[in-house]
Amino acid sequence: MLSYALRTLIRMVLTFFVIVTIVFFATRLSGNAVDFVIGEGMTTEDRDLLIKYYELDRPIWSQYLAFLRAFTDGQFGLSFIERRPVSEMVLERIWPSTQLLLSAVGLTVLVSIPLGIAAAIWRKSWIGSAVMVVAFLGYAVPNFVLAIVMVLLFSYWLNWLPVVGNGTALHFIMPTVALAGVLIAALTRFTRNAMLDVLGQDFMRTARAKGLPENAVILRHGLRNAGITILSVIGLQVAGLAASGSVVIEAIFAWPGIGDLLVSSALRRDYPVLQFGVLTVALAVIVINAAVDLAYAWADPRLRHTVKG
């Protein structure tokens, strides 16, 4: 288990370095920051003065080295636009996004695992069919459509729920449901399929033959074995959501999260913020993936043994 964890760690570090480099060069492919930071309508003299002041005239290799150095001394520089440390800007946005992500994942797990199990057990009855229809619908509706429909219904017409920001628990309801919608649909289907695979296995029959009650058979033997698949799907979905999924939802609900920051800094070519923000998200994705890897190994002893061998 320890060497498995070590390998995971090394892979993380390598991935991170590659991402650092790609992020640095890719952000700069999208256009010269000068055109965006300095703004429009300016004399050449003024423009040169500001370029020098904002250090936009440094050669790219020197910027790259400075960027790498930032990892050792923790100085990620100042935002071109807001003129404050980018680490501060990114860090204050991470918590609201994380909260939203966790509440969406929590809701997903709470709803879709029971639904998926129900759909597997009663797959031939109307219950199974109903769950699957809802799951398909959920999969087909993009999250921003769901968000806008909810806003219309619960805020605009009924005036039950607030739409702006993350001030209270009530603020979480619509963005959480909007983000969780697609996840619930996906995870319900995966849970159902994984359970179906497991339900027909020999060990399930053995468990029943031992005289275990049906609940215990399904939860302890069935779910535990289907867990690997379910876990990997959760990991993938969460990582995807962390990387991109909440940008639109954050804009609709004026949620002060990292998606909003990334989009605005990309539009303004605020490279220091953009690259630090993308890196933070990349790091989050890597950590989530590693955590899922480790969780597999914990859930399935076979996996860590094969790796060792």
């Binding site: 256009g31 429009e40 004399t43 002041y53 003129r83 806003v151 605009y156 729920l161 739409v163 702006v164």
Partner: protein, 517 residues
């Protein structure tokens, strides 16, 4: 008994509502930094007037300039090029420090003798005639200009010369005795002024929270607290207004007005903002060098139709680059720009237009109706036989030699033709600096007369000459003053005041009130 309880509760609620007024504004944009000196953006101008003062104030209820005492109580010319100002006694900054002549000298010289690059840039385009400010005694300062200045009050009323505290600013970083660049950077995140509201919280790009400043020298602020919250989506802003999460929202597009007006609890106010959306034409583009081609591109545009179609007729289409706010220098009698498709066709023929494509660059969303206007304009060109193409890009192309035409805005930075046309189209100004406009010695001579003549008639005559130059060899066509709207709860009484520069959210005494029930 129940009745009594209810009515008591009701009365208490009303009373507390009346004296502890708090509002939330849902804004399409919130500043990334707050420093009145370095900023001249439309986003920034929303925020400064509540928290900062200038030496000379303005009666904003009037369209035309009426100067009133602010941080200076009196001012007079002591020499042709020296203005002496008497400072108001007993003014306190939001951090508790008393305002002194030193603070005033520091604030003015941070612009007049700018060394911090963002100040240098702002100072050059509007304050280059101002040499220095000096302290005479604790309540007297003198300001010296290079050439005799016809616009003293106007230029002492600028946002850029709002007064900030010296000691506080210098002590923000590094040596507390020296004004370093980093001090000004830090100030723009923790701004302190003398206005009726202090900035209690500022989260760049997200939120500005004002709180009433009890030691304000003038009439007390009507609101205990005002929060300006970033709500980027128009639909979310409107919804926030309906749910009561916002009391006022900014930047409502013309097509949303009817929706809001249909709600009996809401209302909208609007005004034709003192700025022009313009079309610029690159005089140095090889294919547009012949002025007749540019004249034709301009003459082919039916701006009244654009106004009807895009702004429900609520925008204002000008005959020349002039605004009503200029007072004596408002010159609607000049006919610099017109719609005349026959003449356009004829000029194109004379110039030998061979059907080459003319591109019109626009950002997809930056200007309200910008993209629609661009599409309509190329259609109008097609009517006179010009092949136009809309080129959508986020990047500012005004500096590019390949740029043929595009949209831009010419805001009124201050109420004088110098504050709009004058800043943008000065000799060696931004337009010439970007290589899409040329001036010569004659233009510069006229411009000098326009800028510095003390006699209003002489300034007007010079401005008319400048407009004639622009008509003959056009680099620009002002399309319209866009109609900008705000929406609010019906019981909120607020409207943009006519004497302000664009977009100011003015919550000072007399600017906002609430219906009594």
């Amino acid at each position: 008994m129940l009745k009594l309880l209810l009515s008591t509760a009701l009365a208490a609620g009303l009373a507390s509502g009346a004296c502890a007024q708090e509002i939330t504004v849902g804004a399409a944009n919130v500043s990334s930094y707050l420093d009145p000196g370095r900023d001249h953006s439309n986003v920034g101008s929303q925020f400064y007037y509540n928290a900062f003062d200038t030496l000379i104030g303005k009666n904003h209820d009037k369209l035309e300039a009426e100067w009133v005492p602010a941080l200076a109580t009196e001012w007079k010319l002591v020499e042709p090029k020296v203005m002496e100002l008497t400072l108001r006694d007993g003014v306190t900054f939001h951090n508790g420090e008393a305002m002194t002549a030193d603070d005033v000298v520091f604030s003015l010289n941070r612009m007049y003798q700018a060394d911090f690059p963002p100040y240098v840039v702002r100072s050059r385009d509007r304050l280059s005639n101002f040499l220095k400010a000096e302290k005479v005694d604790d309540l007297t300062v003198r300001v010296t200009v290079e050439k005799e200045e016809p616009l003293w009050e106007t230029l002492l009323n600028l946002q850029q010369v709002m007064i900030i505290p010296e000691d506080y600013t210098k002590a923000l970083t590094g040596d507390p005795e020296v004004a370093e660049h980093d001090d000004f950077e830090a100030f723009s995140l923790a701004p302190v002024g003398t206005g009726p509201y202090r900035i209690a919280e500022f989260v760049p790009g997200e939120r500005v929270v004002y709180e009433r400043f009890d030691d304000f020298w003038g009439e007390k602020a009507p609101l205990a607290k005002a929060t300006v919250q970033h709500i980027p989506e128009t639909a979310s802003r409107v919804t926030a207004l309906k749910t009561g999460e916002a009391d006022i929202v900014t930047n409502i597009a013309p097509d949303q007005l009817a929706l809001i007006e249909a709600d009996k609890n809401l209302r909208t106010v609007g005004s034709a903002t003192p700025l022009f959306h313009v079309m610029i034409m690159n005089v140095n583009h090889p294919k547009l060098k012949d002025p007749r081609i540019r004249q034709a591109l301009s003459l082919a545009i039916d701006r009244d139709t654009l106004n009807e179609a895009l702004w429900l007729g609520k925008a204002v289409v000008p005959s020349t680059h002039t605004l009503e706010e200029y007072g004596d220098l408002y010159m609607p009698e000049l006919k610099t720009f017109e719609y005349n498709p026959e003449k356009a066709r004829q000029l194109l023929k004379e110039a030998g237009y061979d059907g080459f494509e003319v591109t019109f660059d626009t950002h997809p969303t930056y200007y309200t109706n910008g993209l629609l206007a661009a599409q309509a304009i190329t259609e109008m060109w097609a009517e006179v036989g010009v092949k136009g193409r809309v080129n959508i890009a986020e990047k500012w192309s005004g500096r590019s030699p390949e740029m043929m035409t595009r949209n831009w805005s010419n805001p009124m930075y201050f109420a004088d033709p110098f504050g709009s046309f004058g800043v943008m189209w000065a000799p060696n100004g931004p337009s010439e600096g970007e290589g899409r406009f040329n001036t010569d010695a004659q233009y510069a001579e006229i411009w000098e007369r326009f800028r510095f003549s003390k006699d209003v008639e002489a300034r007007k005559a010079a401005y008319a000459e400048l407009m004639e130059r622009i008509r003959q060899d056009p680099p620009v066509l002002p399309l319209y003053r866009p109609f900008e709207s705000w929406a609010m709860r019906k019981d909120v009484s607020w409207a943009p005041k006519p004497g302000h520069i664009p977009y100011v959210l003015d919550f000072r005494a007399g600017s906002i009130s609430f219906a009594s029930n």
